[in-house]
Chain length 191, copies 2
DNA sequence: AACCATACGGAACGCTGTTCCGCTTAACAA
DNA sequence: TTGTTAAGCGGAACAGCGTTCCGTATGGTT
């Protein structure tokens, strides 16, 4: 995927439109969720749909671009959590909490993350590439400290947490954080 | 929702078509997943789309009709598991396993279950109405026996398990059963 | 000022679920 | 057997989606 996000030496109107698009998308996502129609985003940016696809080959790429900073921040928080302790397991739970925050805060982001979405592949890949290694480090540290079982795969854990967050908004009877907490508690069970 | 499934004294061709539709839908769901287009099901049954909607007001109703027997069986398995012991917690895990089987076996069923689907509301309601009470009994028994924490809600647990099953097919790196196992292990943690 | 690659807008395409309505036909009465 | 009619059927049509395409406009350069 060619990164159309970097400033590059493109035409002024192109750069301007890209900015409008990112701003508009962020606003629309907050208001209507990540699954908002492309046409709505185009309209909010005062731009035609063709322009959207010129800048972002697919809806997923637009979503990635909008949330890139936050995903990046989450990834960088991993080592920080580990350093701040007090134990690797505590760091893991705190980091997972921040991940859950990221997903639950943005309407429909978690749902968009599932692999079998067809579209949204790019979104899934980006999250996986960036966050799985971070999670793996935390898991390894906790396992090394004997705080959790050793046979937990970072990819699976992240997918599981992501799945648990689906529909966390839009259903008052459901509390994703609580279930994630139980899942993390389950990691402590003996191998 | 009026139940168009009961035999009633309708015209012979109507009954015949309803049968074809259910058979065809079951076959198509196995082959292409629960989210297969209505047109495909109509074609497989040798029937027009209008006929599909005459018998099943919405796609969700068709899905419910196809899986009604299996959901019923799962619901009835609850008390049986409890009776067979050896402990309420063992019964709970065995019952949840059968629930997971139900979801993982049918492509895309778990995904269709999420509440915020828009369409598929009927499916969600049916599962909830039928299975939450069963799960609640199992949870209560296990809690009473002091095997698990007391503050676990049946609806939340079922939604959590359902969510964990999303995409279990179509992603070899992901093992829903394993994560459900971890979640259940988490139930044993102290209040 | 004149040129043209770059970028734009939005109609058009192919895919959904669902609705609508003119036609067919099963069921029943005479 | 034939006639009547309401139940049922088929599939065109509608609305909404992501995405593609292409004639037109324009920023940057000579």
């Amino acid at each position: 995927m060619t990164d159309t996000t970097e400033p590059g030496r493109r035409r002024a109107d192109a750069r301007r439109n890209q900015r409008s698009l990112l701003d508009a998308a962020a606003a629309v996502f907050v208001a209507s969720g990540v699954e908002a129609p492309v046409r709505d985003i185009a309209a909010a940016a005062g731009v035609g749909v063709g322009t959207v696809y010129r800048h972002f080959p697919t809806r997923a790429d637009l979503v990635v671009a909008v949330y890139r900073h936050q995903v990046e921040a989450c990834a960088e928080a991993g080592p920080v959590c580990l350093a701040e302790g007090p134990t690797p397991y505590a760091a893991l739970t705190r980091w997972i909490d921040s991940f859950v925050d990221l997903l639950v805060t943005k309407h429909g982001l978690a749902a968009a993350l599932r692999a079998d979405s067809g579209q949204f592949d790019a979104l899934h890949s980006y999250f996986v590439d960036r966050l799985v290694p971070v999670c793996a480090d935390l898991l390894a540290a906790a396992a090394e400290a004997g705080e959790i079982r050793r046979d937990v795969d970072a990819y699976q854990l992240l997918r599981g947490v992501g799945n648990l967050c689906i529909g966390a908004d839009s259903d008052p009877r459901y509390d994703a954080r609580r279930l994630v907490g139980l899942l993390l508690a389950g990691l402590r069970s003996p191998d």
